[in-house]
């Protein structure tokens, strides 16, 4: 439990960067090698490897090396935790606003009667 909490700690930080988000999006379509992932970006490989390192240390991706090729795989469950929180927030606001619709309707009706 404690481990899980620590690992979650930097997921949001990892997601705050556009390059890392693009990498995750690409990995959503399937595993890819580091060189394939780096190709669309106009940044040096050492910098790109730092992004990969952040994603791996937060548990958002796994990597494995075979010979000289490193392949990255998306860890969907980790990503899901943060997305789940946003979904819940959205649901809270939606429900709250439905309450307000009903209250406004009731109050508007009262206004017309008086």
């Amino acid at each position: 439990m404690a481990n899980n909490y620590l690992a979650l700690d930097s997921v949001f930080h990892a997601l705050a960067d556009p390059t890392r988000r693009a990498v995750l999006q690409r990995l959503g379509t399937g595993p890819a090698t580091v060189s394939d992932l780096a190709e669309p970006f106009d940044i040096g490989l050492p910098t790109f490897m730092k992004h990969v390192g952040v994603l791996e240390s937060t548990g958002l991706i796994r990597t494995r090396k075979s010979g000289r090729v490193r392949t990255c795989v998306l860890e969907r469950r980790k990503l899901a935790a943060a997305e789940r929180w946003f979904d819940e927030q959205r649901a809270i606001w939606a429900s709250r606003f439905e309450n307000l619709d009903n209250l406004l309707e009731q109050l508007s009706g009262d206004e017309r009667e008086t």
């Binding site: 979650l8 949001f12 705050a16 556009p18 939606a94 429900s95 309450n99 307000l100 209250l103 206004e111």
Partner: protein
């Protein structure tokens, strides 16, 4: 109950600016919507999502004043918060500092506070309310997410959803 008109609802998370922007239209005049956001007896009737209810302990809607309230579960479990009002421009908008608190109104110092910027705009017969919830950093959002998923309202609602699914099955 009349059929609801198609009311715009946007919920946008900006991860680079660590903010959430919520836009919603209401089929009512701006003054009435403003009242619902700023008067205790009205806030208590809508602010908590179903099936929770809202309970106010203190409300003083003025700059430097605050709203101290709880969202209450059907089983009695309470989630206390407070909003400190920093700037008020009737009936255009207000700025508040949101916080997790306890029943006495003491702010939980371990959890980050978010700035709420709430704006009210006329749209012919409707009113558009824009709420920007702004955190200081990505780390702050992560703290709130971790708390929410562990012991907060989000996890509670999720358990409730599961319970309802079980009962429906």
């Amino acid at each position: 109950m009349s059929v609801k008109p198609d009311l715009r609802f946007d919920f946008v998370v900006d991860k680079t600016k660590h903010s959430i922007t919520v836009k919603r239209e209401f089929a009512a005049k701006r003054q009435l919507v403003w009242d619902c956001y700023t008067k205790q007896e009205l806030l208590d009737q809508w602010f908590a999502p179903k099936p929770l209810t809202t309970k106010t302990k203190h409300m003083e809607f003025k700059e430097g004043g605050y709203w101290h309230y709880a969202m209450v579960m059907p089983d009695g479990q309470e989630f206390w918060s407070r909003q400190d009002y920093q700037a008020i421009n009737p009936i255009d908008g207000y700025v508040a500092l949101d916080a997790f608190s306890d029943e006495t109104g003491a702010v939980n110092p371990a959890l980050p506070r978010a700035r709420w910027d709430v704006g009210f705009t006329d749209l012919q017969t409707r009113t558009l309310v824009t709420t920007v919830v702004l955190y200081k950093s990505a780390e702050d959002v992560q703290k709130v997410i971790d708390m929410g998923l562990k012991d907060g309202l989000a996890s509670t609602l999720e358990r409730l959803d599961e319970l309802l699914l079980t009962k429906a099955a």
